[in-house]
């Protein structure tokens, strides 16, 4: 067994019975499991068997156009991860939550609670909720402006980080003799008074085993990348080719450094949807068996949402109509750009485009043998396109089983991935140290002055 000096990170991005649009209709899945918490606990245990860094559940605050063909979000992810936390020991637990439709105090509390329940394994994927359907559930008309969403997100995260610092390590004294439960000198108000939020603090929960939850982000717009460079510790990203992946990686790392952070404080994790089989031919056949089950009606709605253009009445075998310019898109700009690039390259019909997108909603699909998948990951890692990968099994639990049991051992054999956990926390798995505490540091300053 060789031992590389550097190893990469693996997150399992889990969704219902699989990432593929039609996963729930495929014979390799049992559709009713989308409603069964035991299914999701099993997924957490499988990921932990593979020594993965973390599992991740995305979220949205509306049903959207998915009702008829796919209900993706039965469970709210933090409550779901709480149930997974107590069925596992080491795997990290990352959930999406929106800065546009919640309050810093509630969000900080919810994630700290998960962090206590899991003993330091919680992570927050920060989203700003672009959808008009989400806005309509919170009294907001139309699509909230991109810029305003990110400004709010920045102040939101600043407050949240302050609340997470409000209890220093060791503030919980538990001295039964003197009757002192907590040391009030180590519990701080945050007294935030900004443009959008006024929050006094302290948080009503002590600091967790990993200090605070890991910050994750996935936006790829200009504001998204700047936001990530400033705050994120891991970034999920959709890159289709090695060259694009390298370009994104260089760009983001340079921005991290420009923000005064060390480049390795942010881990870049491109997504991949792996179809795994004994031969490449069988893997491609497996992928086709999923594509054949995509509902065109559903796919047209998905595509319309991605592009902000109504295609639901569009002929399937006609080419994609002209798209509006990027700067008119208020939603997910990176998904939009991806579809535009794909369509421009291939002169594709809508049906062909749907097939390309169906597996991973814009993420890279890869069909191959375990060795081919391992080669691909190794290449991206060694050629500077990734610090690790966001594994998006097209069907569950089988697709995760196969990745863990067939691909991970090859990566371990090559020294590219851990064979045992070496830490107990999510921040530890990602090689991130103690996040520090503004209040503890101030105290240290006072002492040295």
């Amino acid at each position: 067994m060789s031992q590389n000096s550097r190893q990469f990170h693996l997150n399992a991005f889990l969704m219902g019975v699989g990432h593929h649009e039609a996963a729930w209709r495929h014979p390799r899945t049992e559709a009713h499991r989308v409603l069964d918490v035991a299914h999701f606990q099993e997924l957490g245990r499988i990921a932990e068997r593979g020594k993965l860094d973390s599992v991740f559940f995305a979220d949205g605050l509306a049903v959207g156009p998915r009702i008829k063909h796919n209900a993706l979000a039965v469970f709210e992810p933090v409550t779901l991860l709480s149930a997974i936390a107590v069925a596992t020991e080491r795997i990290g637990l990352i959930a999406t939550a929106s800065t546009s439709y919640s309050d810093p105090y509630n969000l900080a509390r919810k994630f700290t609670s998960l962090d206590h329940i899991s003993r330091g394994r919680a992570g927050w994927n920060i989203v700003t909720s672009a959808g008009a359907d989400e806005a309509a559930n919170f009294g907001v008309d139309g699509i909230p402006a991109h810029r305003g969403r990110y400004e709010r997100a920045e102040e939101f995260v600043d407050v949240t980080l302050a609340l997470w610092d409000s209890w220093e390590d060791g503030a919980v004294v538990l001295d039964e003799e003197s009757g002192i439960f907590a040391d009030p000198d180590r519990v701080h108000t945050v007294d935030h008074a900004g443009e959008r939020f006024r929050v006094k603090g302290p948080l009503n929960s002590p600091r967790s085993a990993q200090g605070r939850p890991l910050l994750v982000q996935a936006g790829s717009s200009e504001s998204g990348k700047e936001f990530a460079a400033r705050y994120a510790e891991a970034v999920f990203t959709a890159q289709r080719t090695l060259a694009e992946g390298q370009q994104f990686y260089r760009d983001l790392k340079a921005r991290v450094v420009a923000h005064g952070r060390s480049a390795d404080q942010l881990k870049v994790l491109p997504g991949i949807v792996p179809f795994i089989a004994d031969t490449q031919e069988e893997a491609e056949e497996l992928e086709r068996s999923f594509t054949d089950l995509i509902s065109p009606e559903y796919a047209l709605r998905q595509l319309s949402t991605m592009l902000g253009v109504d295609l639901t009445e569009h002929a399937l075998d006609a080419p994609l109509p002209p798209l509006p310019p990027l700067d008119e898109i208020e939603g997910n700009k990176s998904r939009y750009q991806l579809v535009k690039d794909l369509a421009a390259n291939g002169d594709l019909t809508v049906r062909e485009l749907i097939g390309l997108l169906g597996g991973g909603r814009g993420h890279r699909t890869f069909a191959g043998t375990p060795e081919q998948i391992a080669d691909e990951l190794q290449t991206w890692f060694e050629k500077g396109a990734a610090d690790g990968f966001n594994i998006m099994p097209p069907y569950l639990p089988g697709g995760l089983d196969d990745f863990v049991d067939r691909v991970v051992p090859i990566l371990q054999e090559r020294g590219l991935f851990r064979t045992e956990y070496t830490t107990d926390t999510l921040r530890g798995h990602y090689g991130l140290g103690d996040p520090g505490n503004r209040f503890t540091e101030e105290l240290a300053h006072d002492v040295s002055a």
Copy 2:
């Protein structure tokens, strides 16, 4: 074994390592368990062993004056109950959440998620958050007015109930053959546009096994009782004497009927803090051993918060100073009234009052043998003061163990309490049927028209 025609209900109100202020300092507890999710899972299993209807966790959105002597809320209760849900099978799971500092969509979603995780065992204790310390964490200055809080709560609950109806039973079709996941004709927008909220819907989660979570309430002000009469299905209440309990029970049931509901659609559950021992003398000695550990500094702060009067510099052995009139109190009016009554009856010093209040924060403390406690509960039930009880163990897990293993068998022997669960849902345990669905009823109307 005799068999009464009517049986009562039992909820275990759980808090850290016990309800008593000084529980964490007592040799019968281990203080560090307040941070341990396994402790709370064990409490859920003990309550389930006793066939109790439910466990309940209160919550507040600020640390308040408790930091130094007691940190009560390490865990956010819904994430905590999610962890308990997967460690139990039948016990109901009730959590406090505030209508003042959350959105209906988020709250409806969170409780539905718990309801799915527990397969129909979730309940929501509706609070309106009276504290100025809570307000300051959400950009609100001062103590929010009583009236405004309840007006918001009404609209909030109306929207939440509509969202919970937005998916009809059977809306999830899961037809793999046709590719139909959900029937869009059975998933409805709610299109609420009120004074405080605009919410389009539908909720992004299907209807749960019990239809929707149980609604619980605990306010005892005029607005609180009216609110309960209109919405609540169970009410936690602090009544110190049988006569007061009977009066409250009659009053509330009359209000329920005045709102067009059947009296048994709301269960009245007075609180009791039981100190259990082999003899009454030993039980009283046990209670004293807890009272002796109360920190006067902490108790004065608690009392000041209850009364809205700063007593922190008040001499312990002096009588209580004159209190402001009830209508100037914006906070918890029932607690205020209780303290005022106690002080008026007894010409008590502050120290004596603290001892009386220390066990249950205003709830009735009862020290006795298992038989005496069973007698007391039976009397209240048979004399029309209760449909069941809110059991508040002064120390945990021992105080819950003793209630379940020593008092419950006596109640079962007398036919007053179930010997086995007869339903799988929280609503079922409380004898409440299917809550109905406005959309399904409309459909039924259409068909019969």
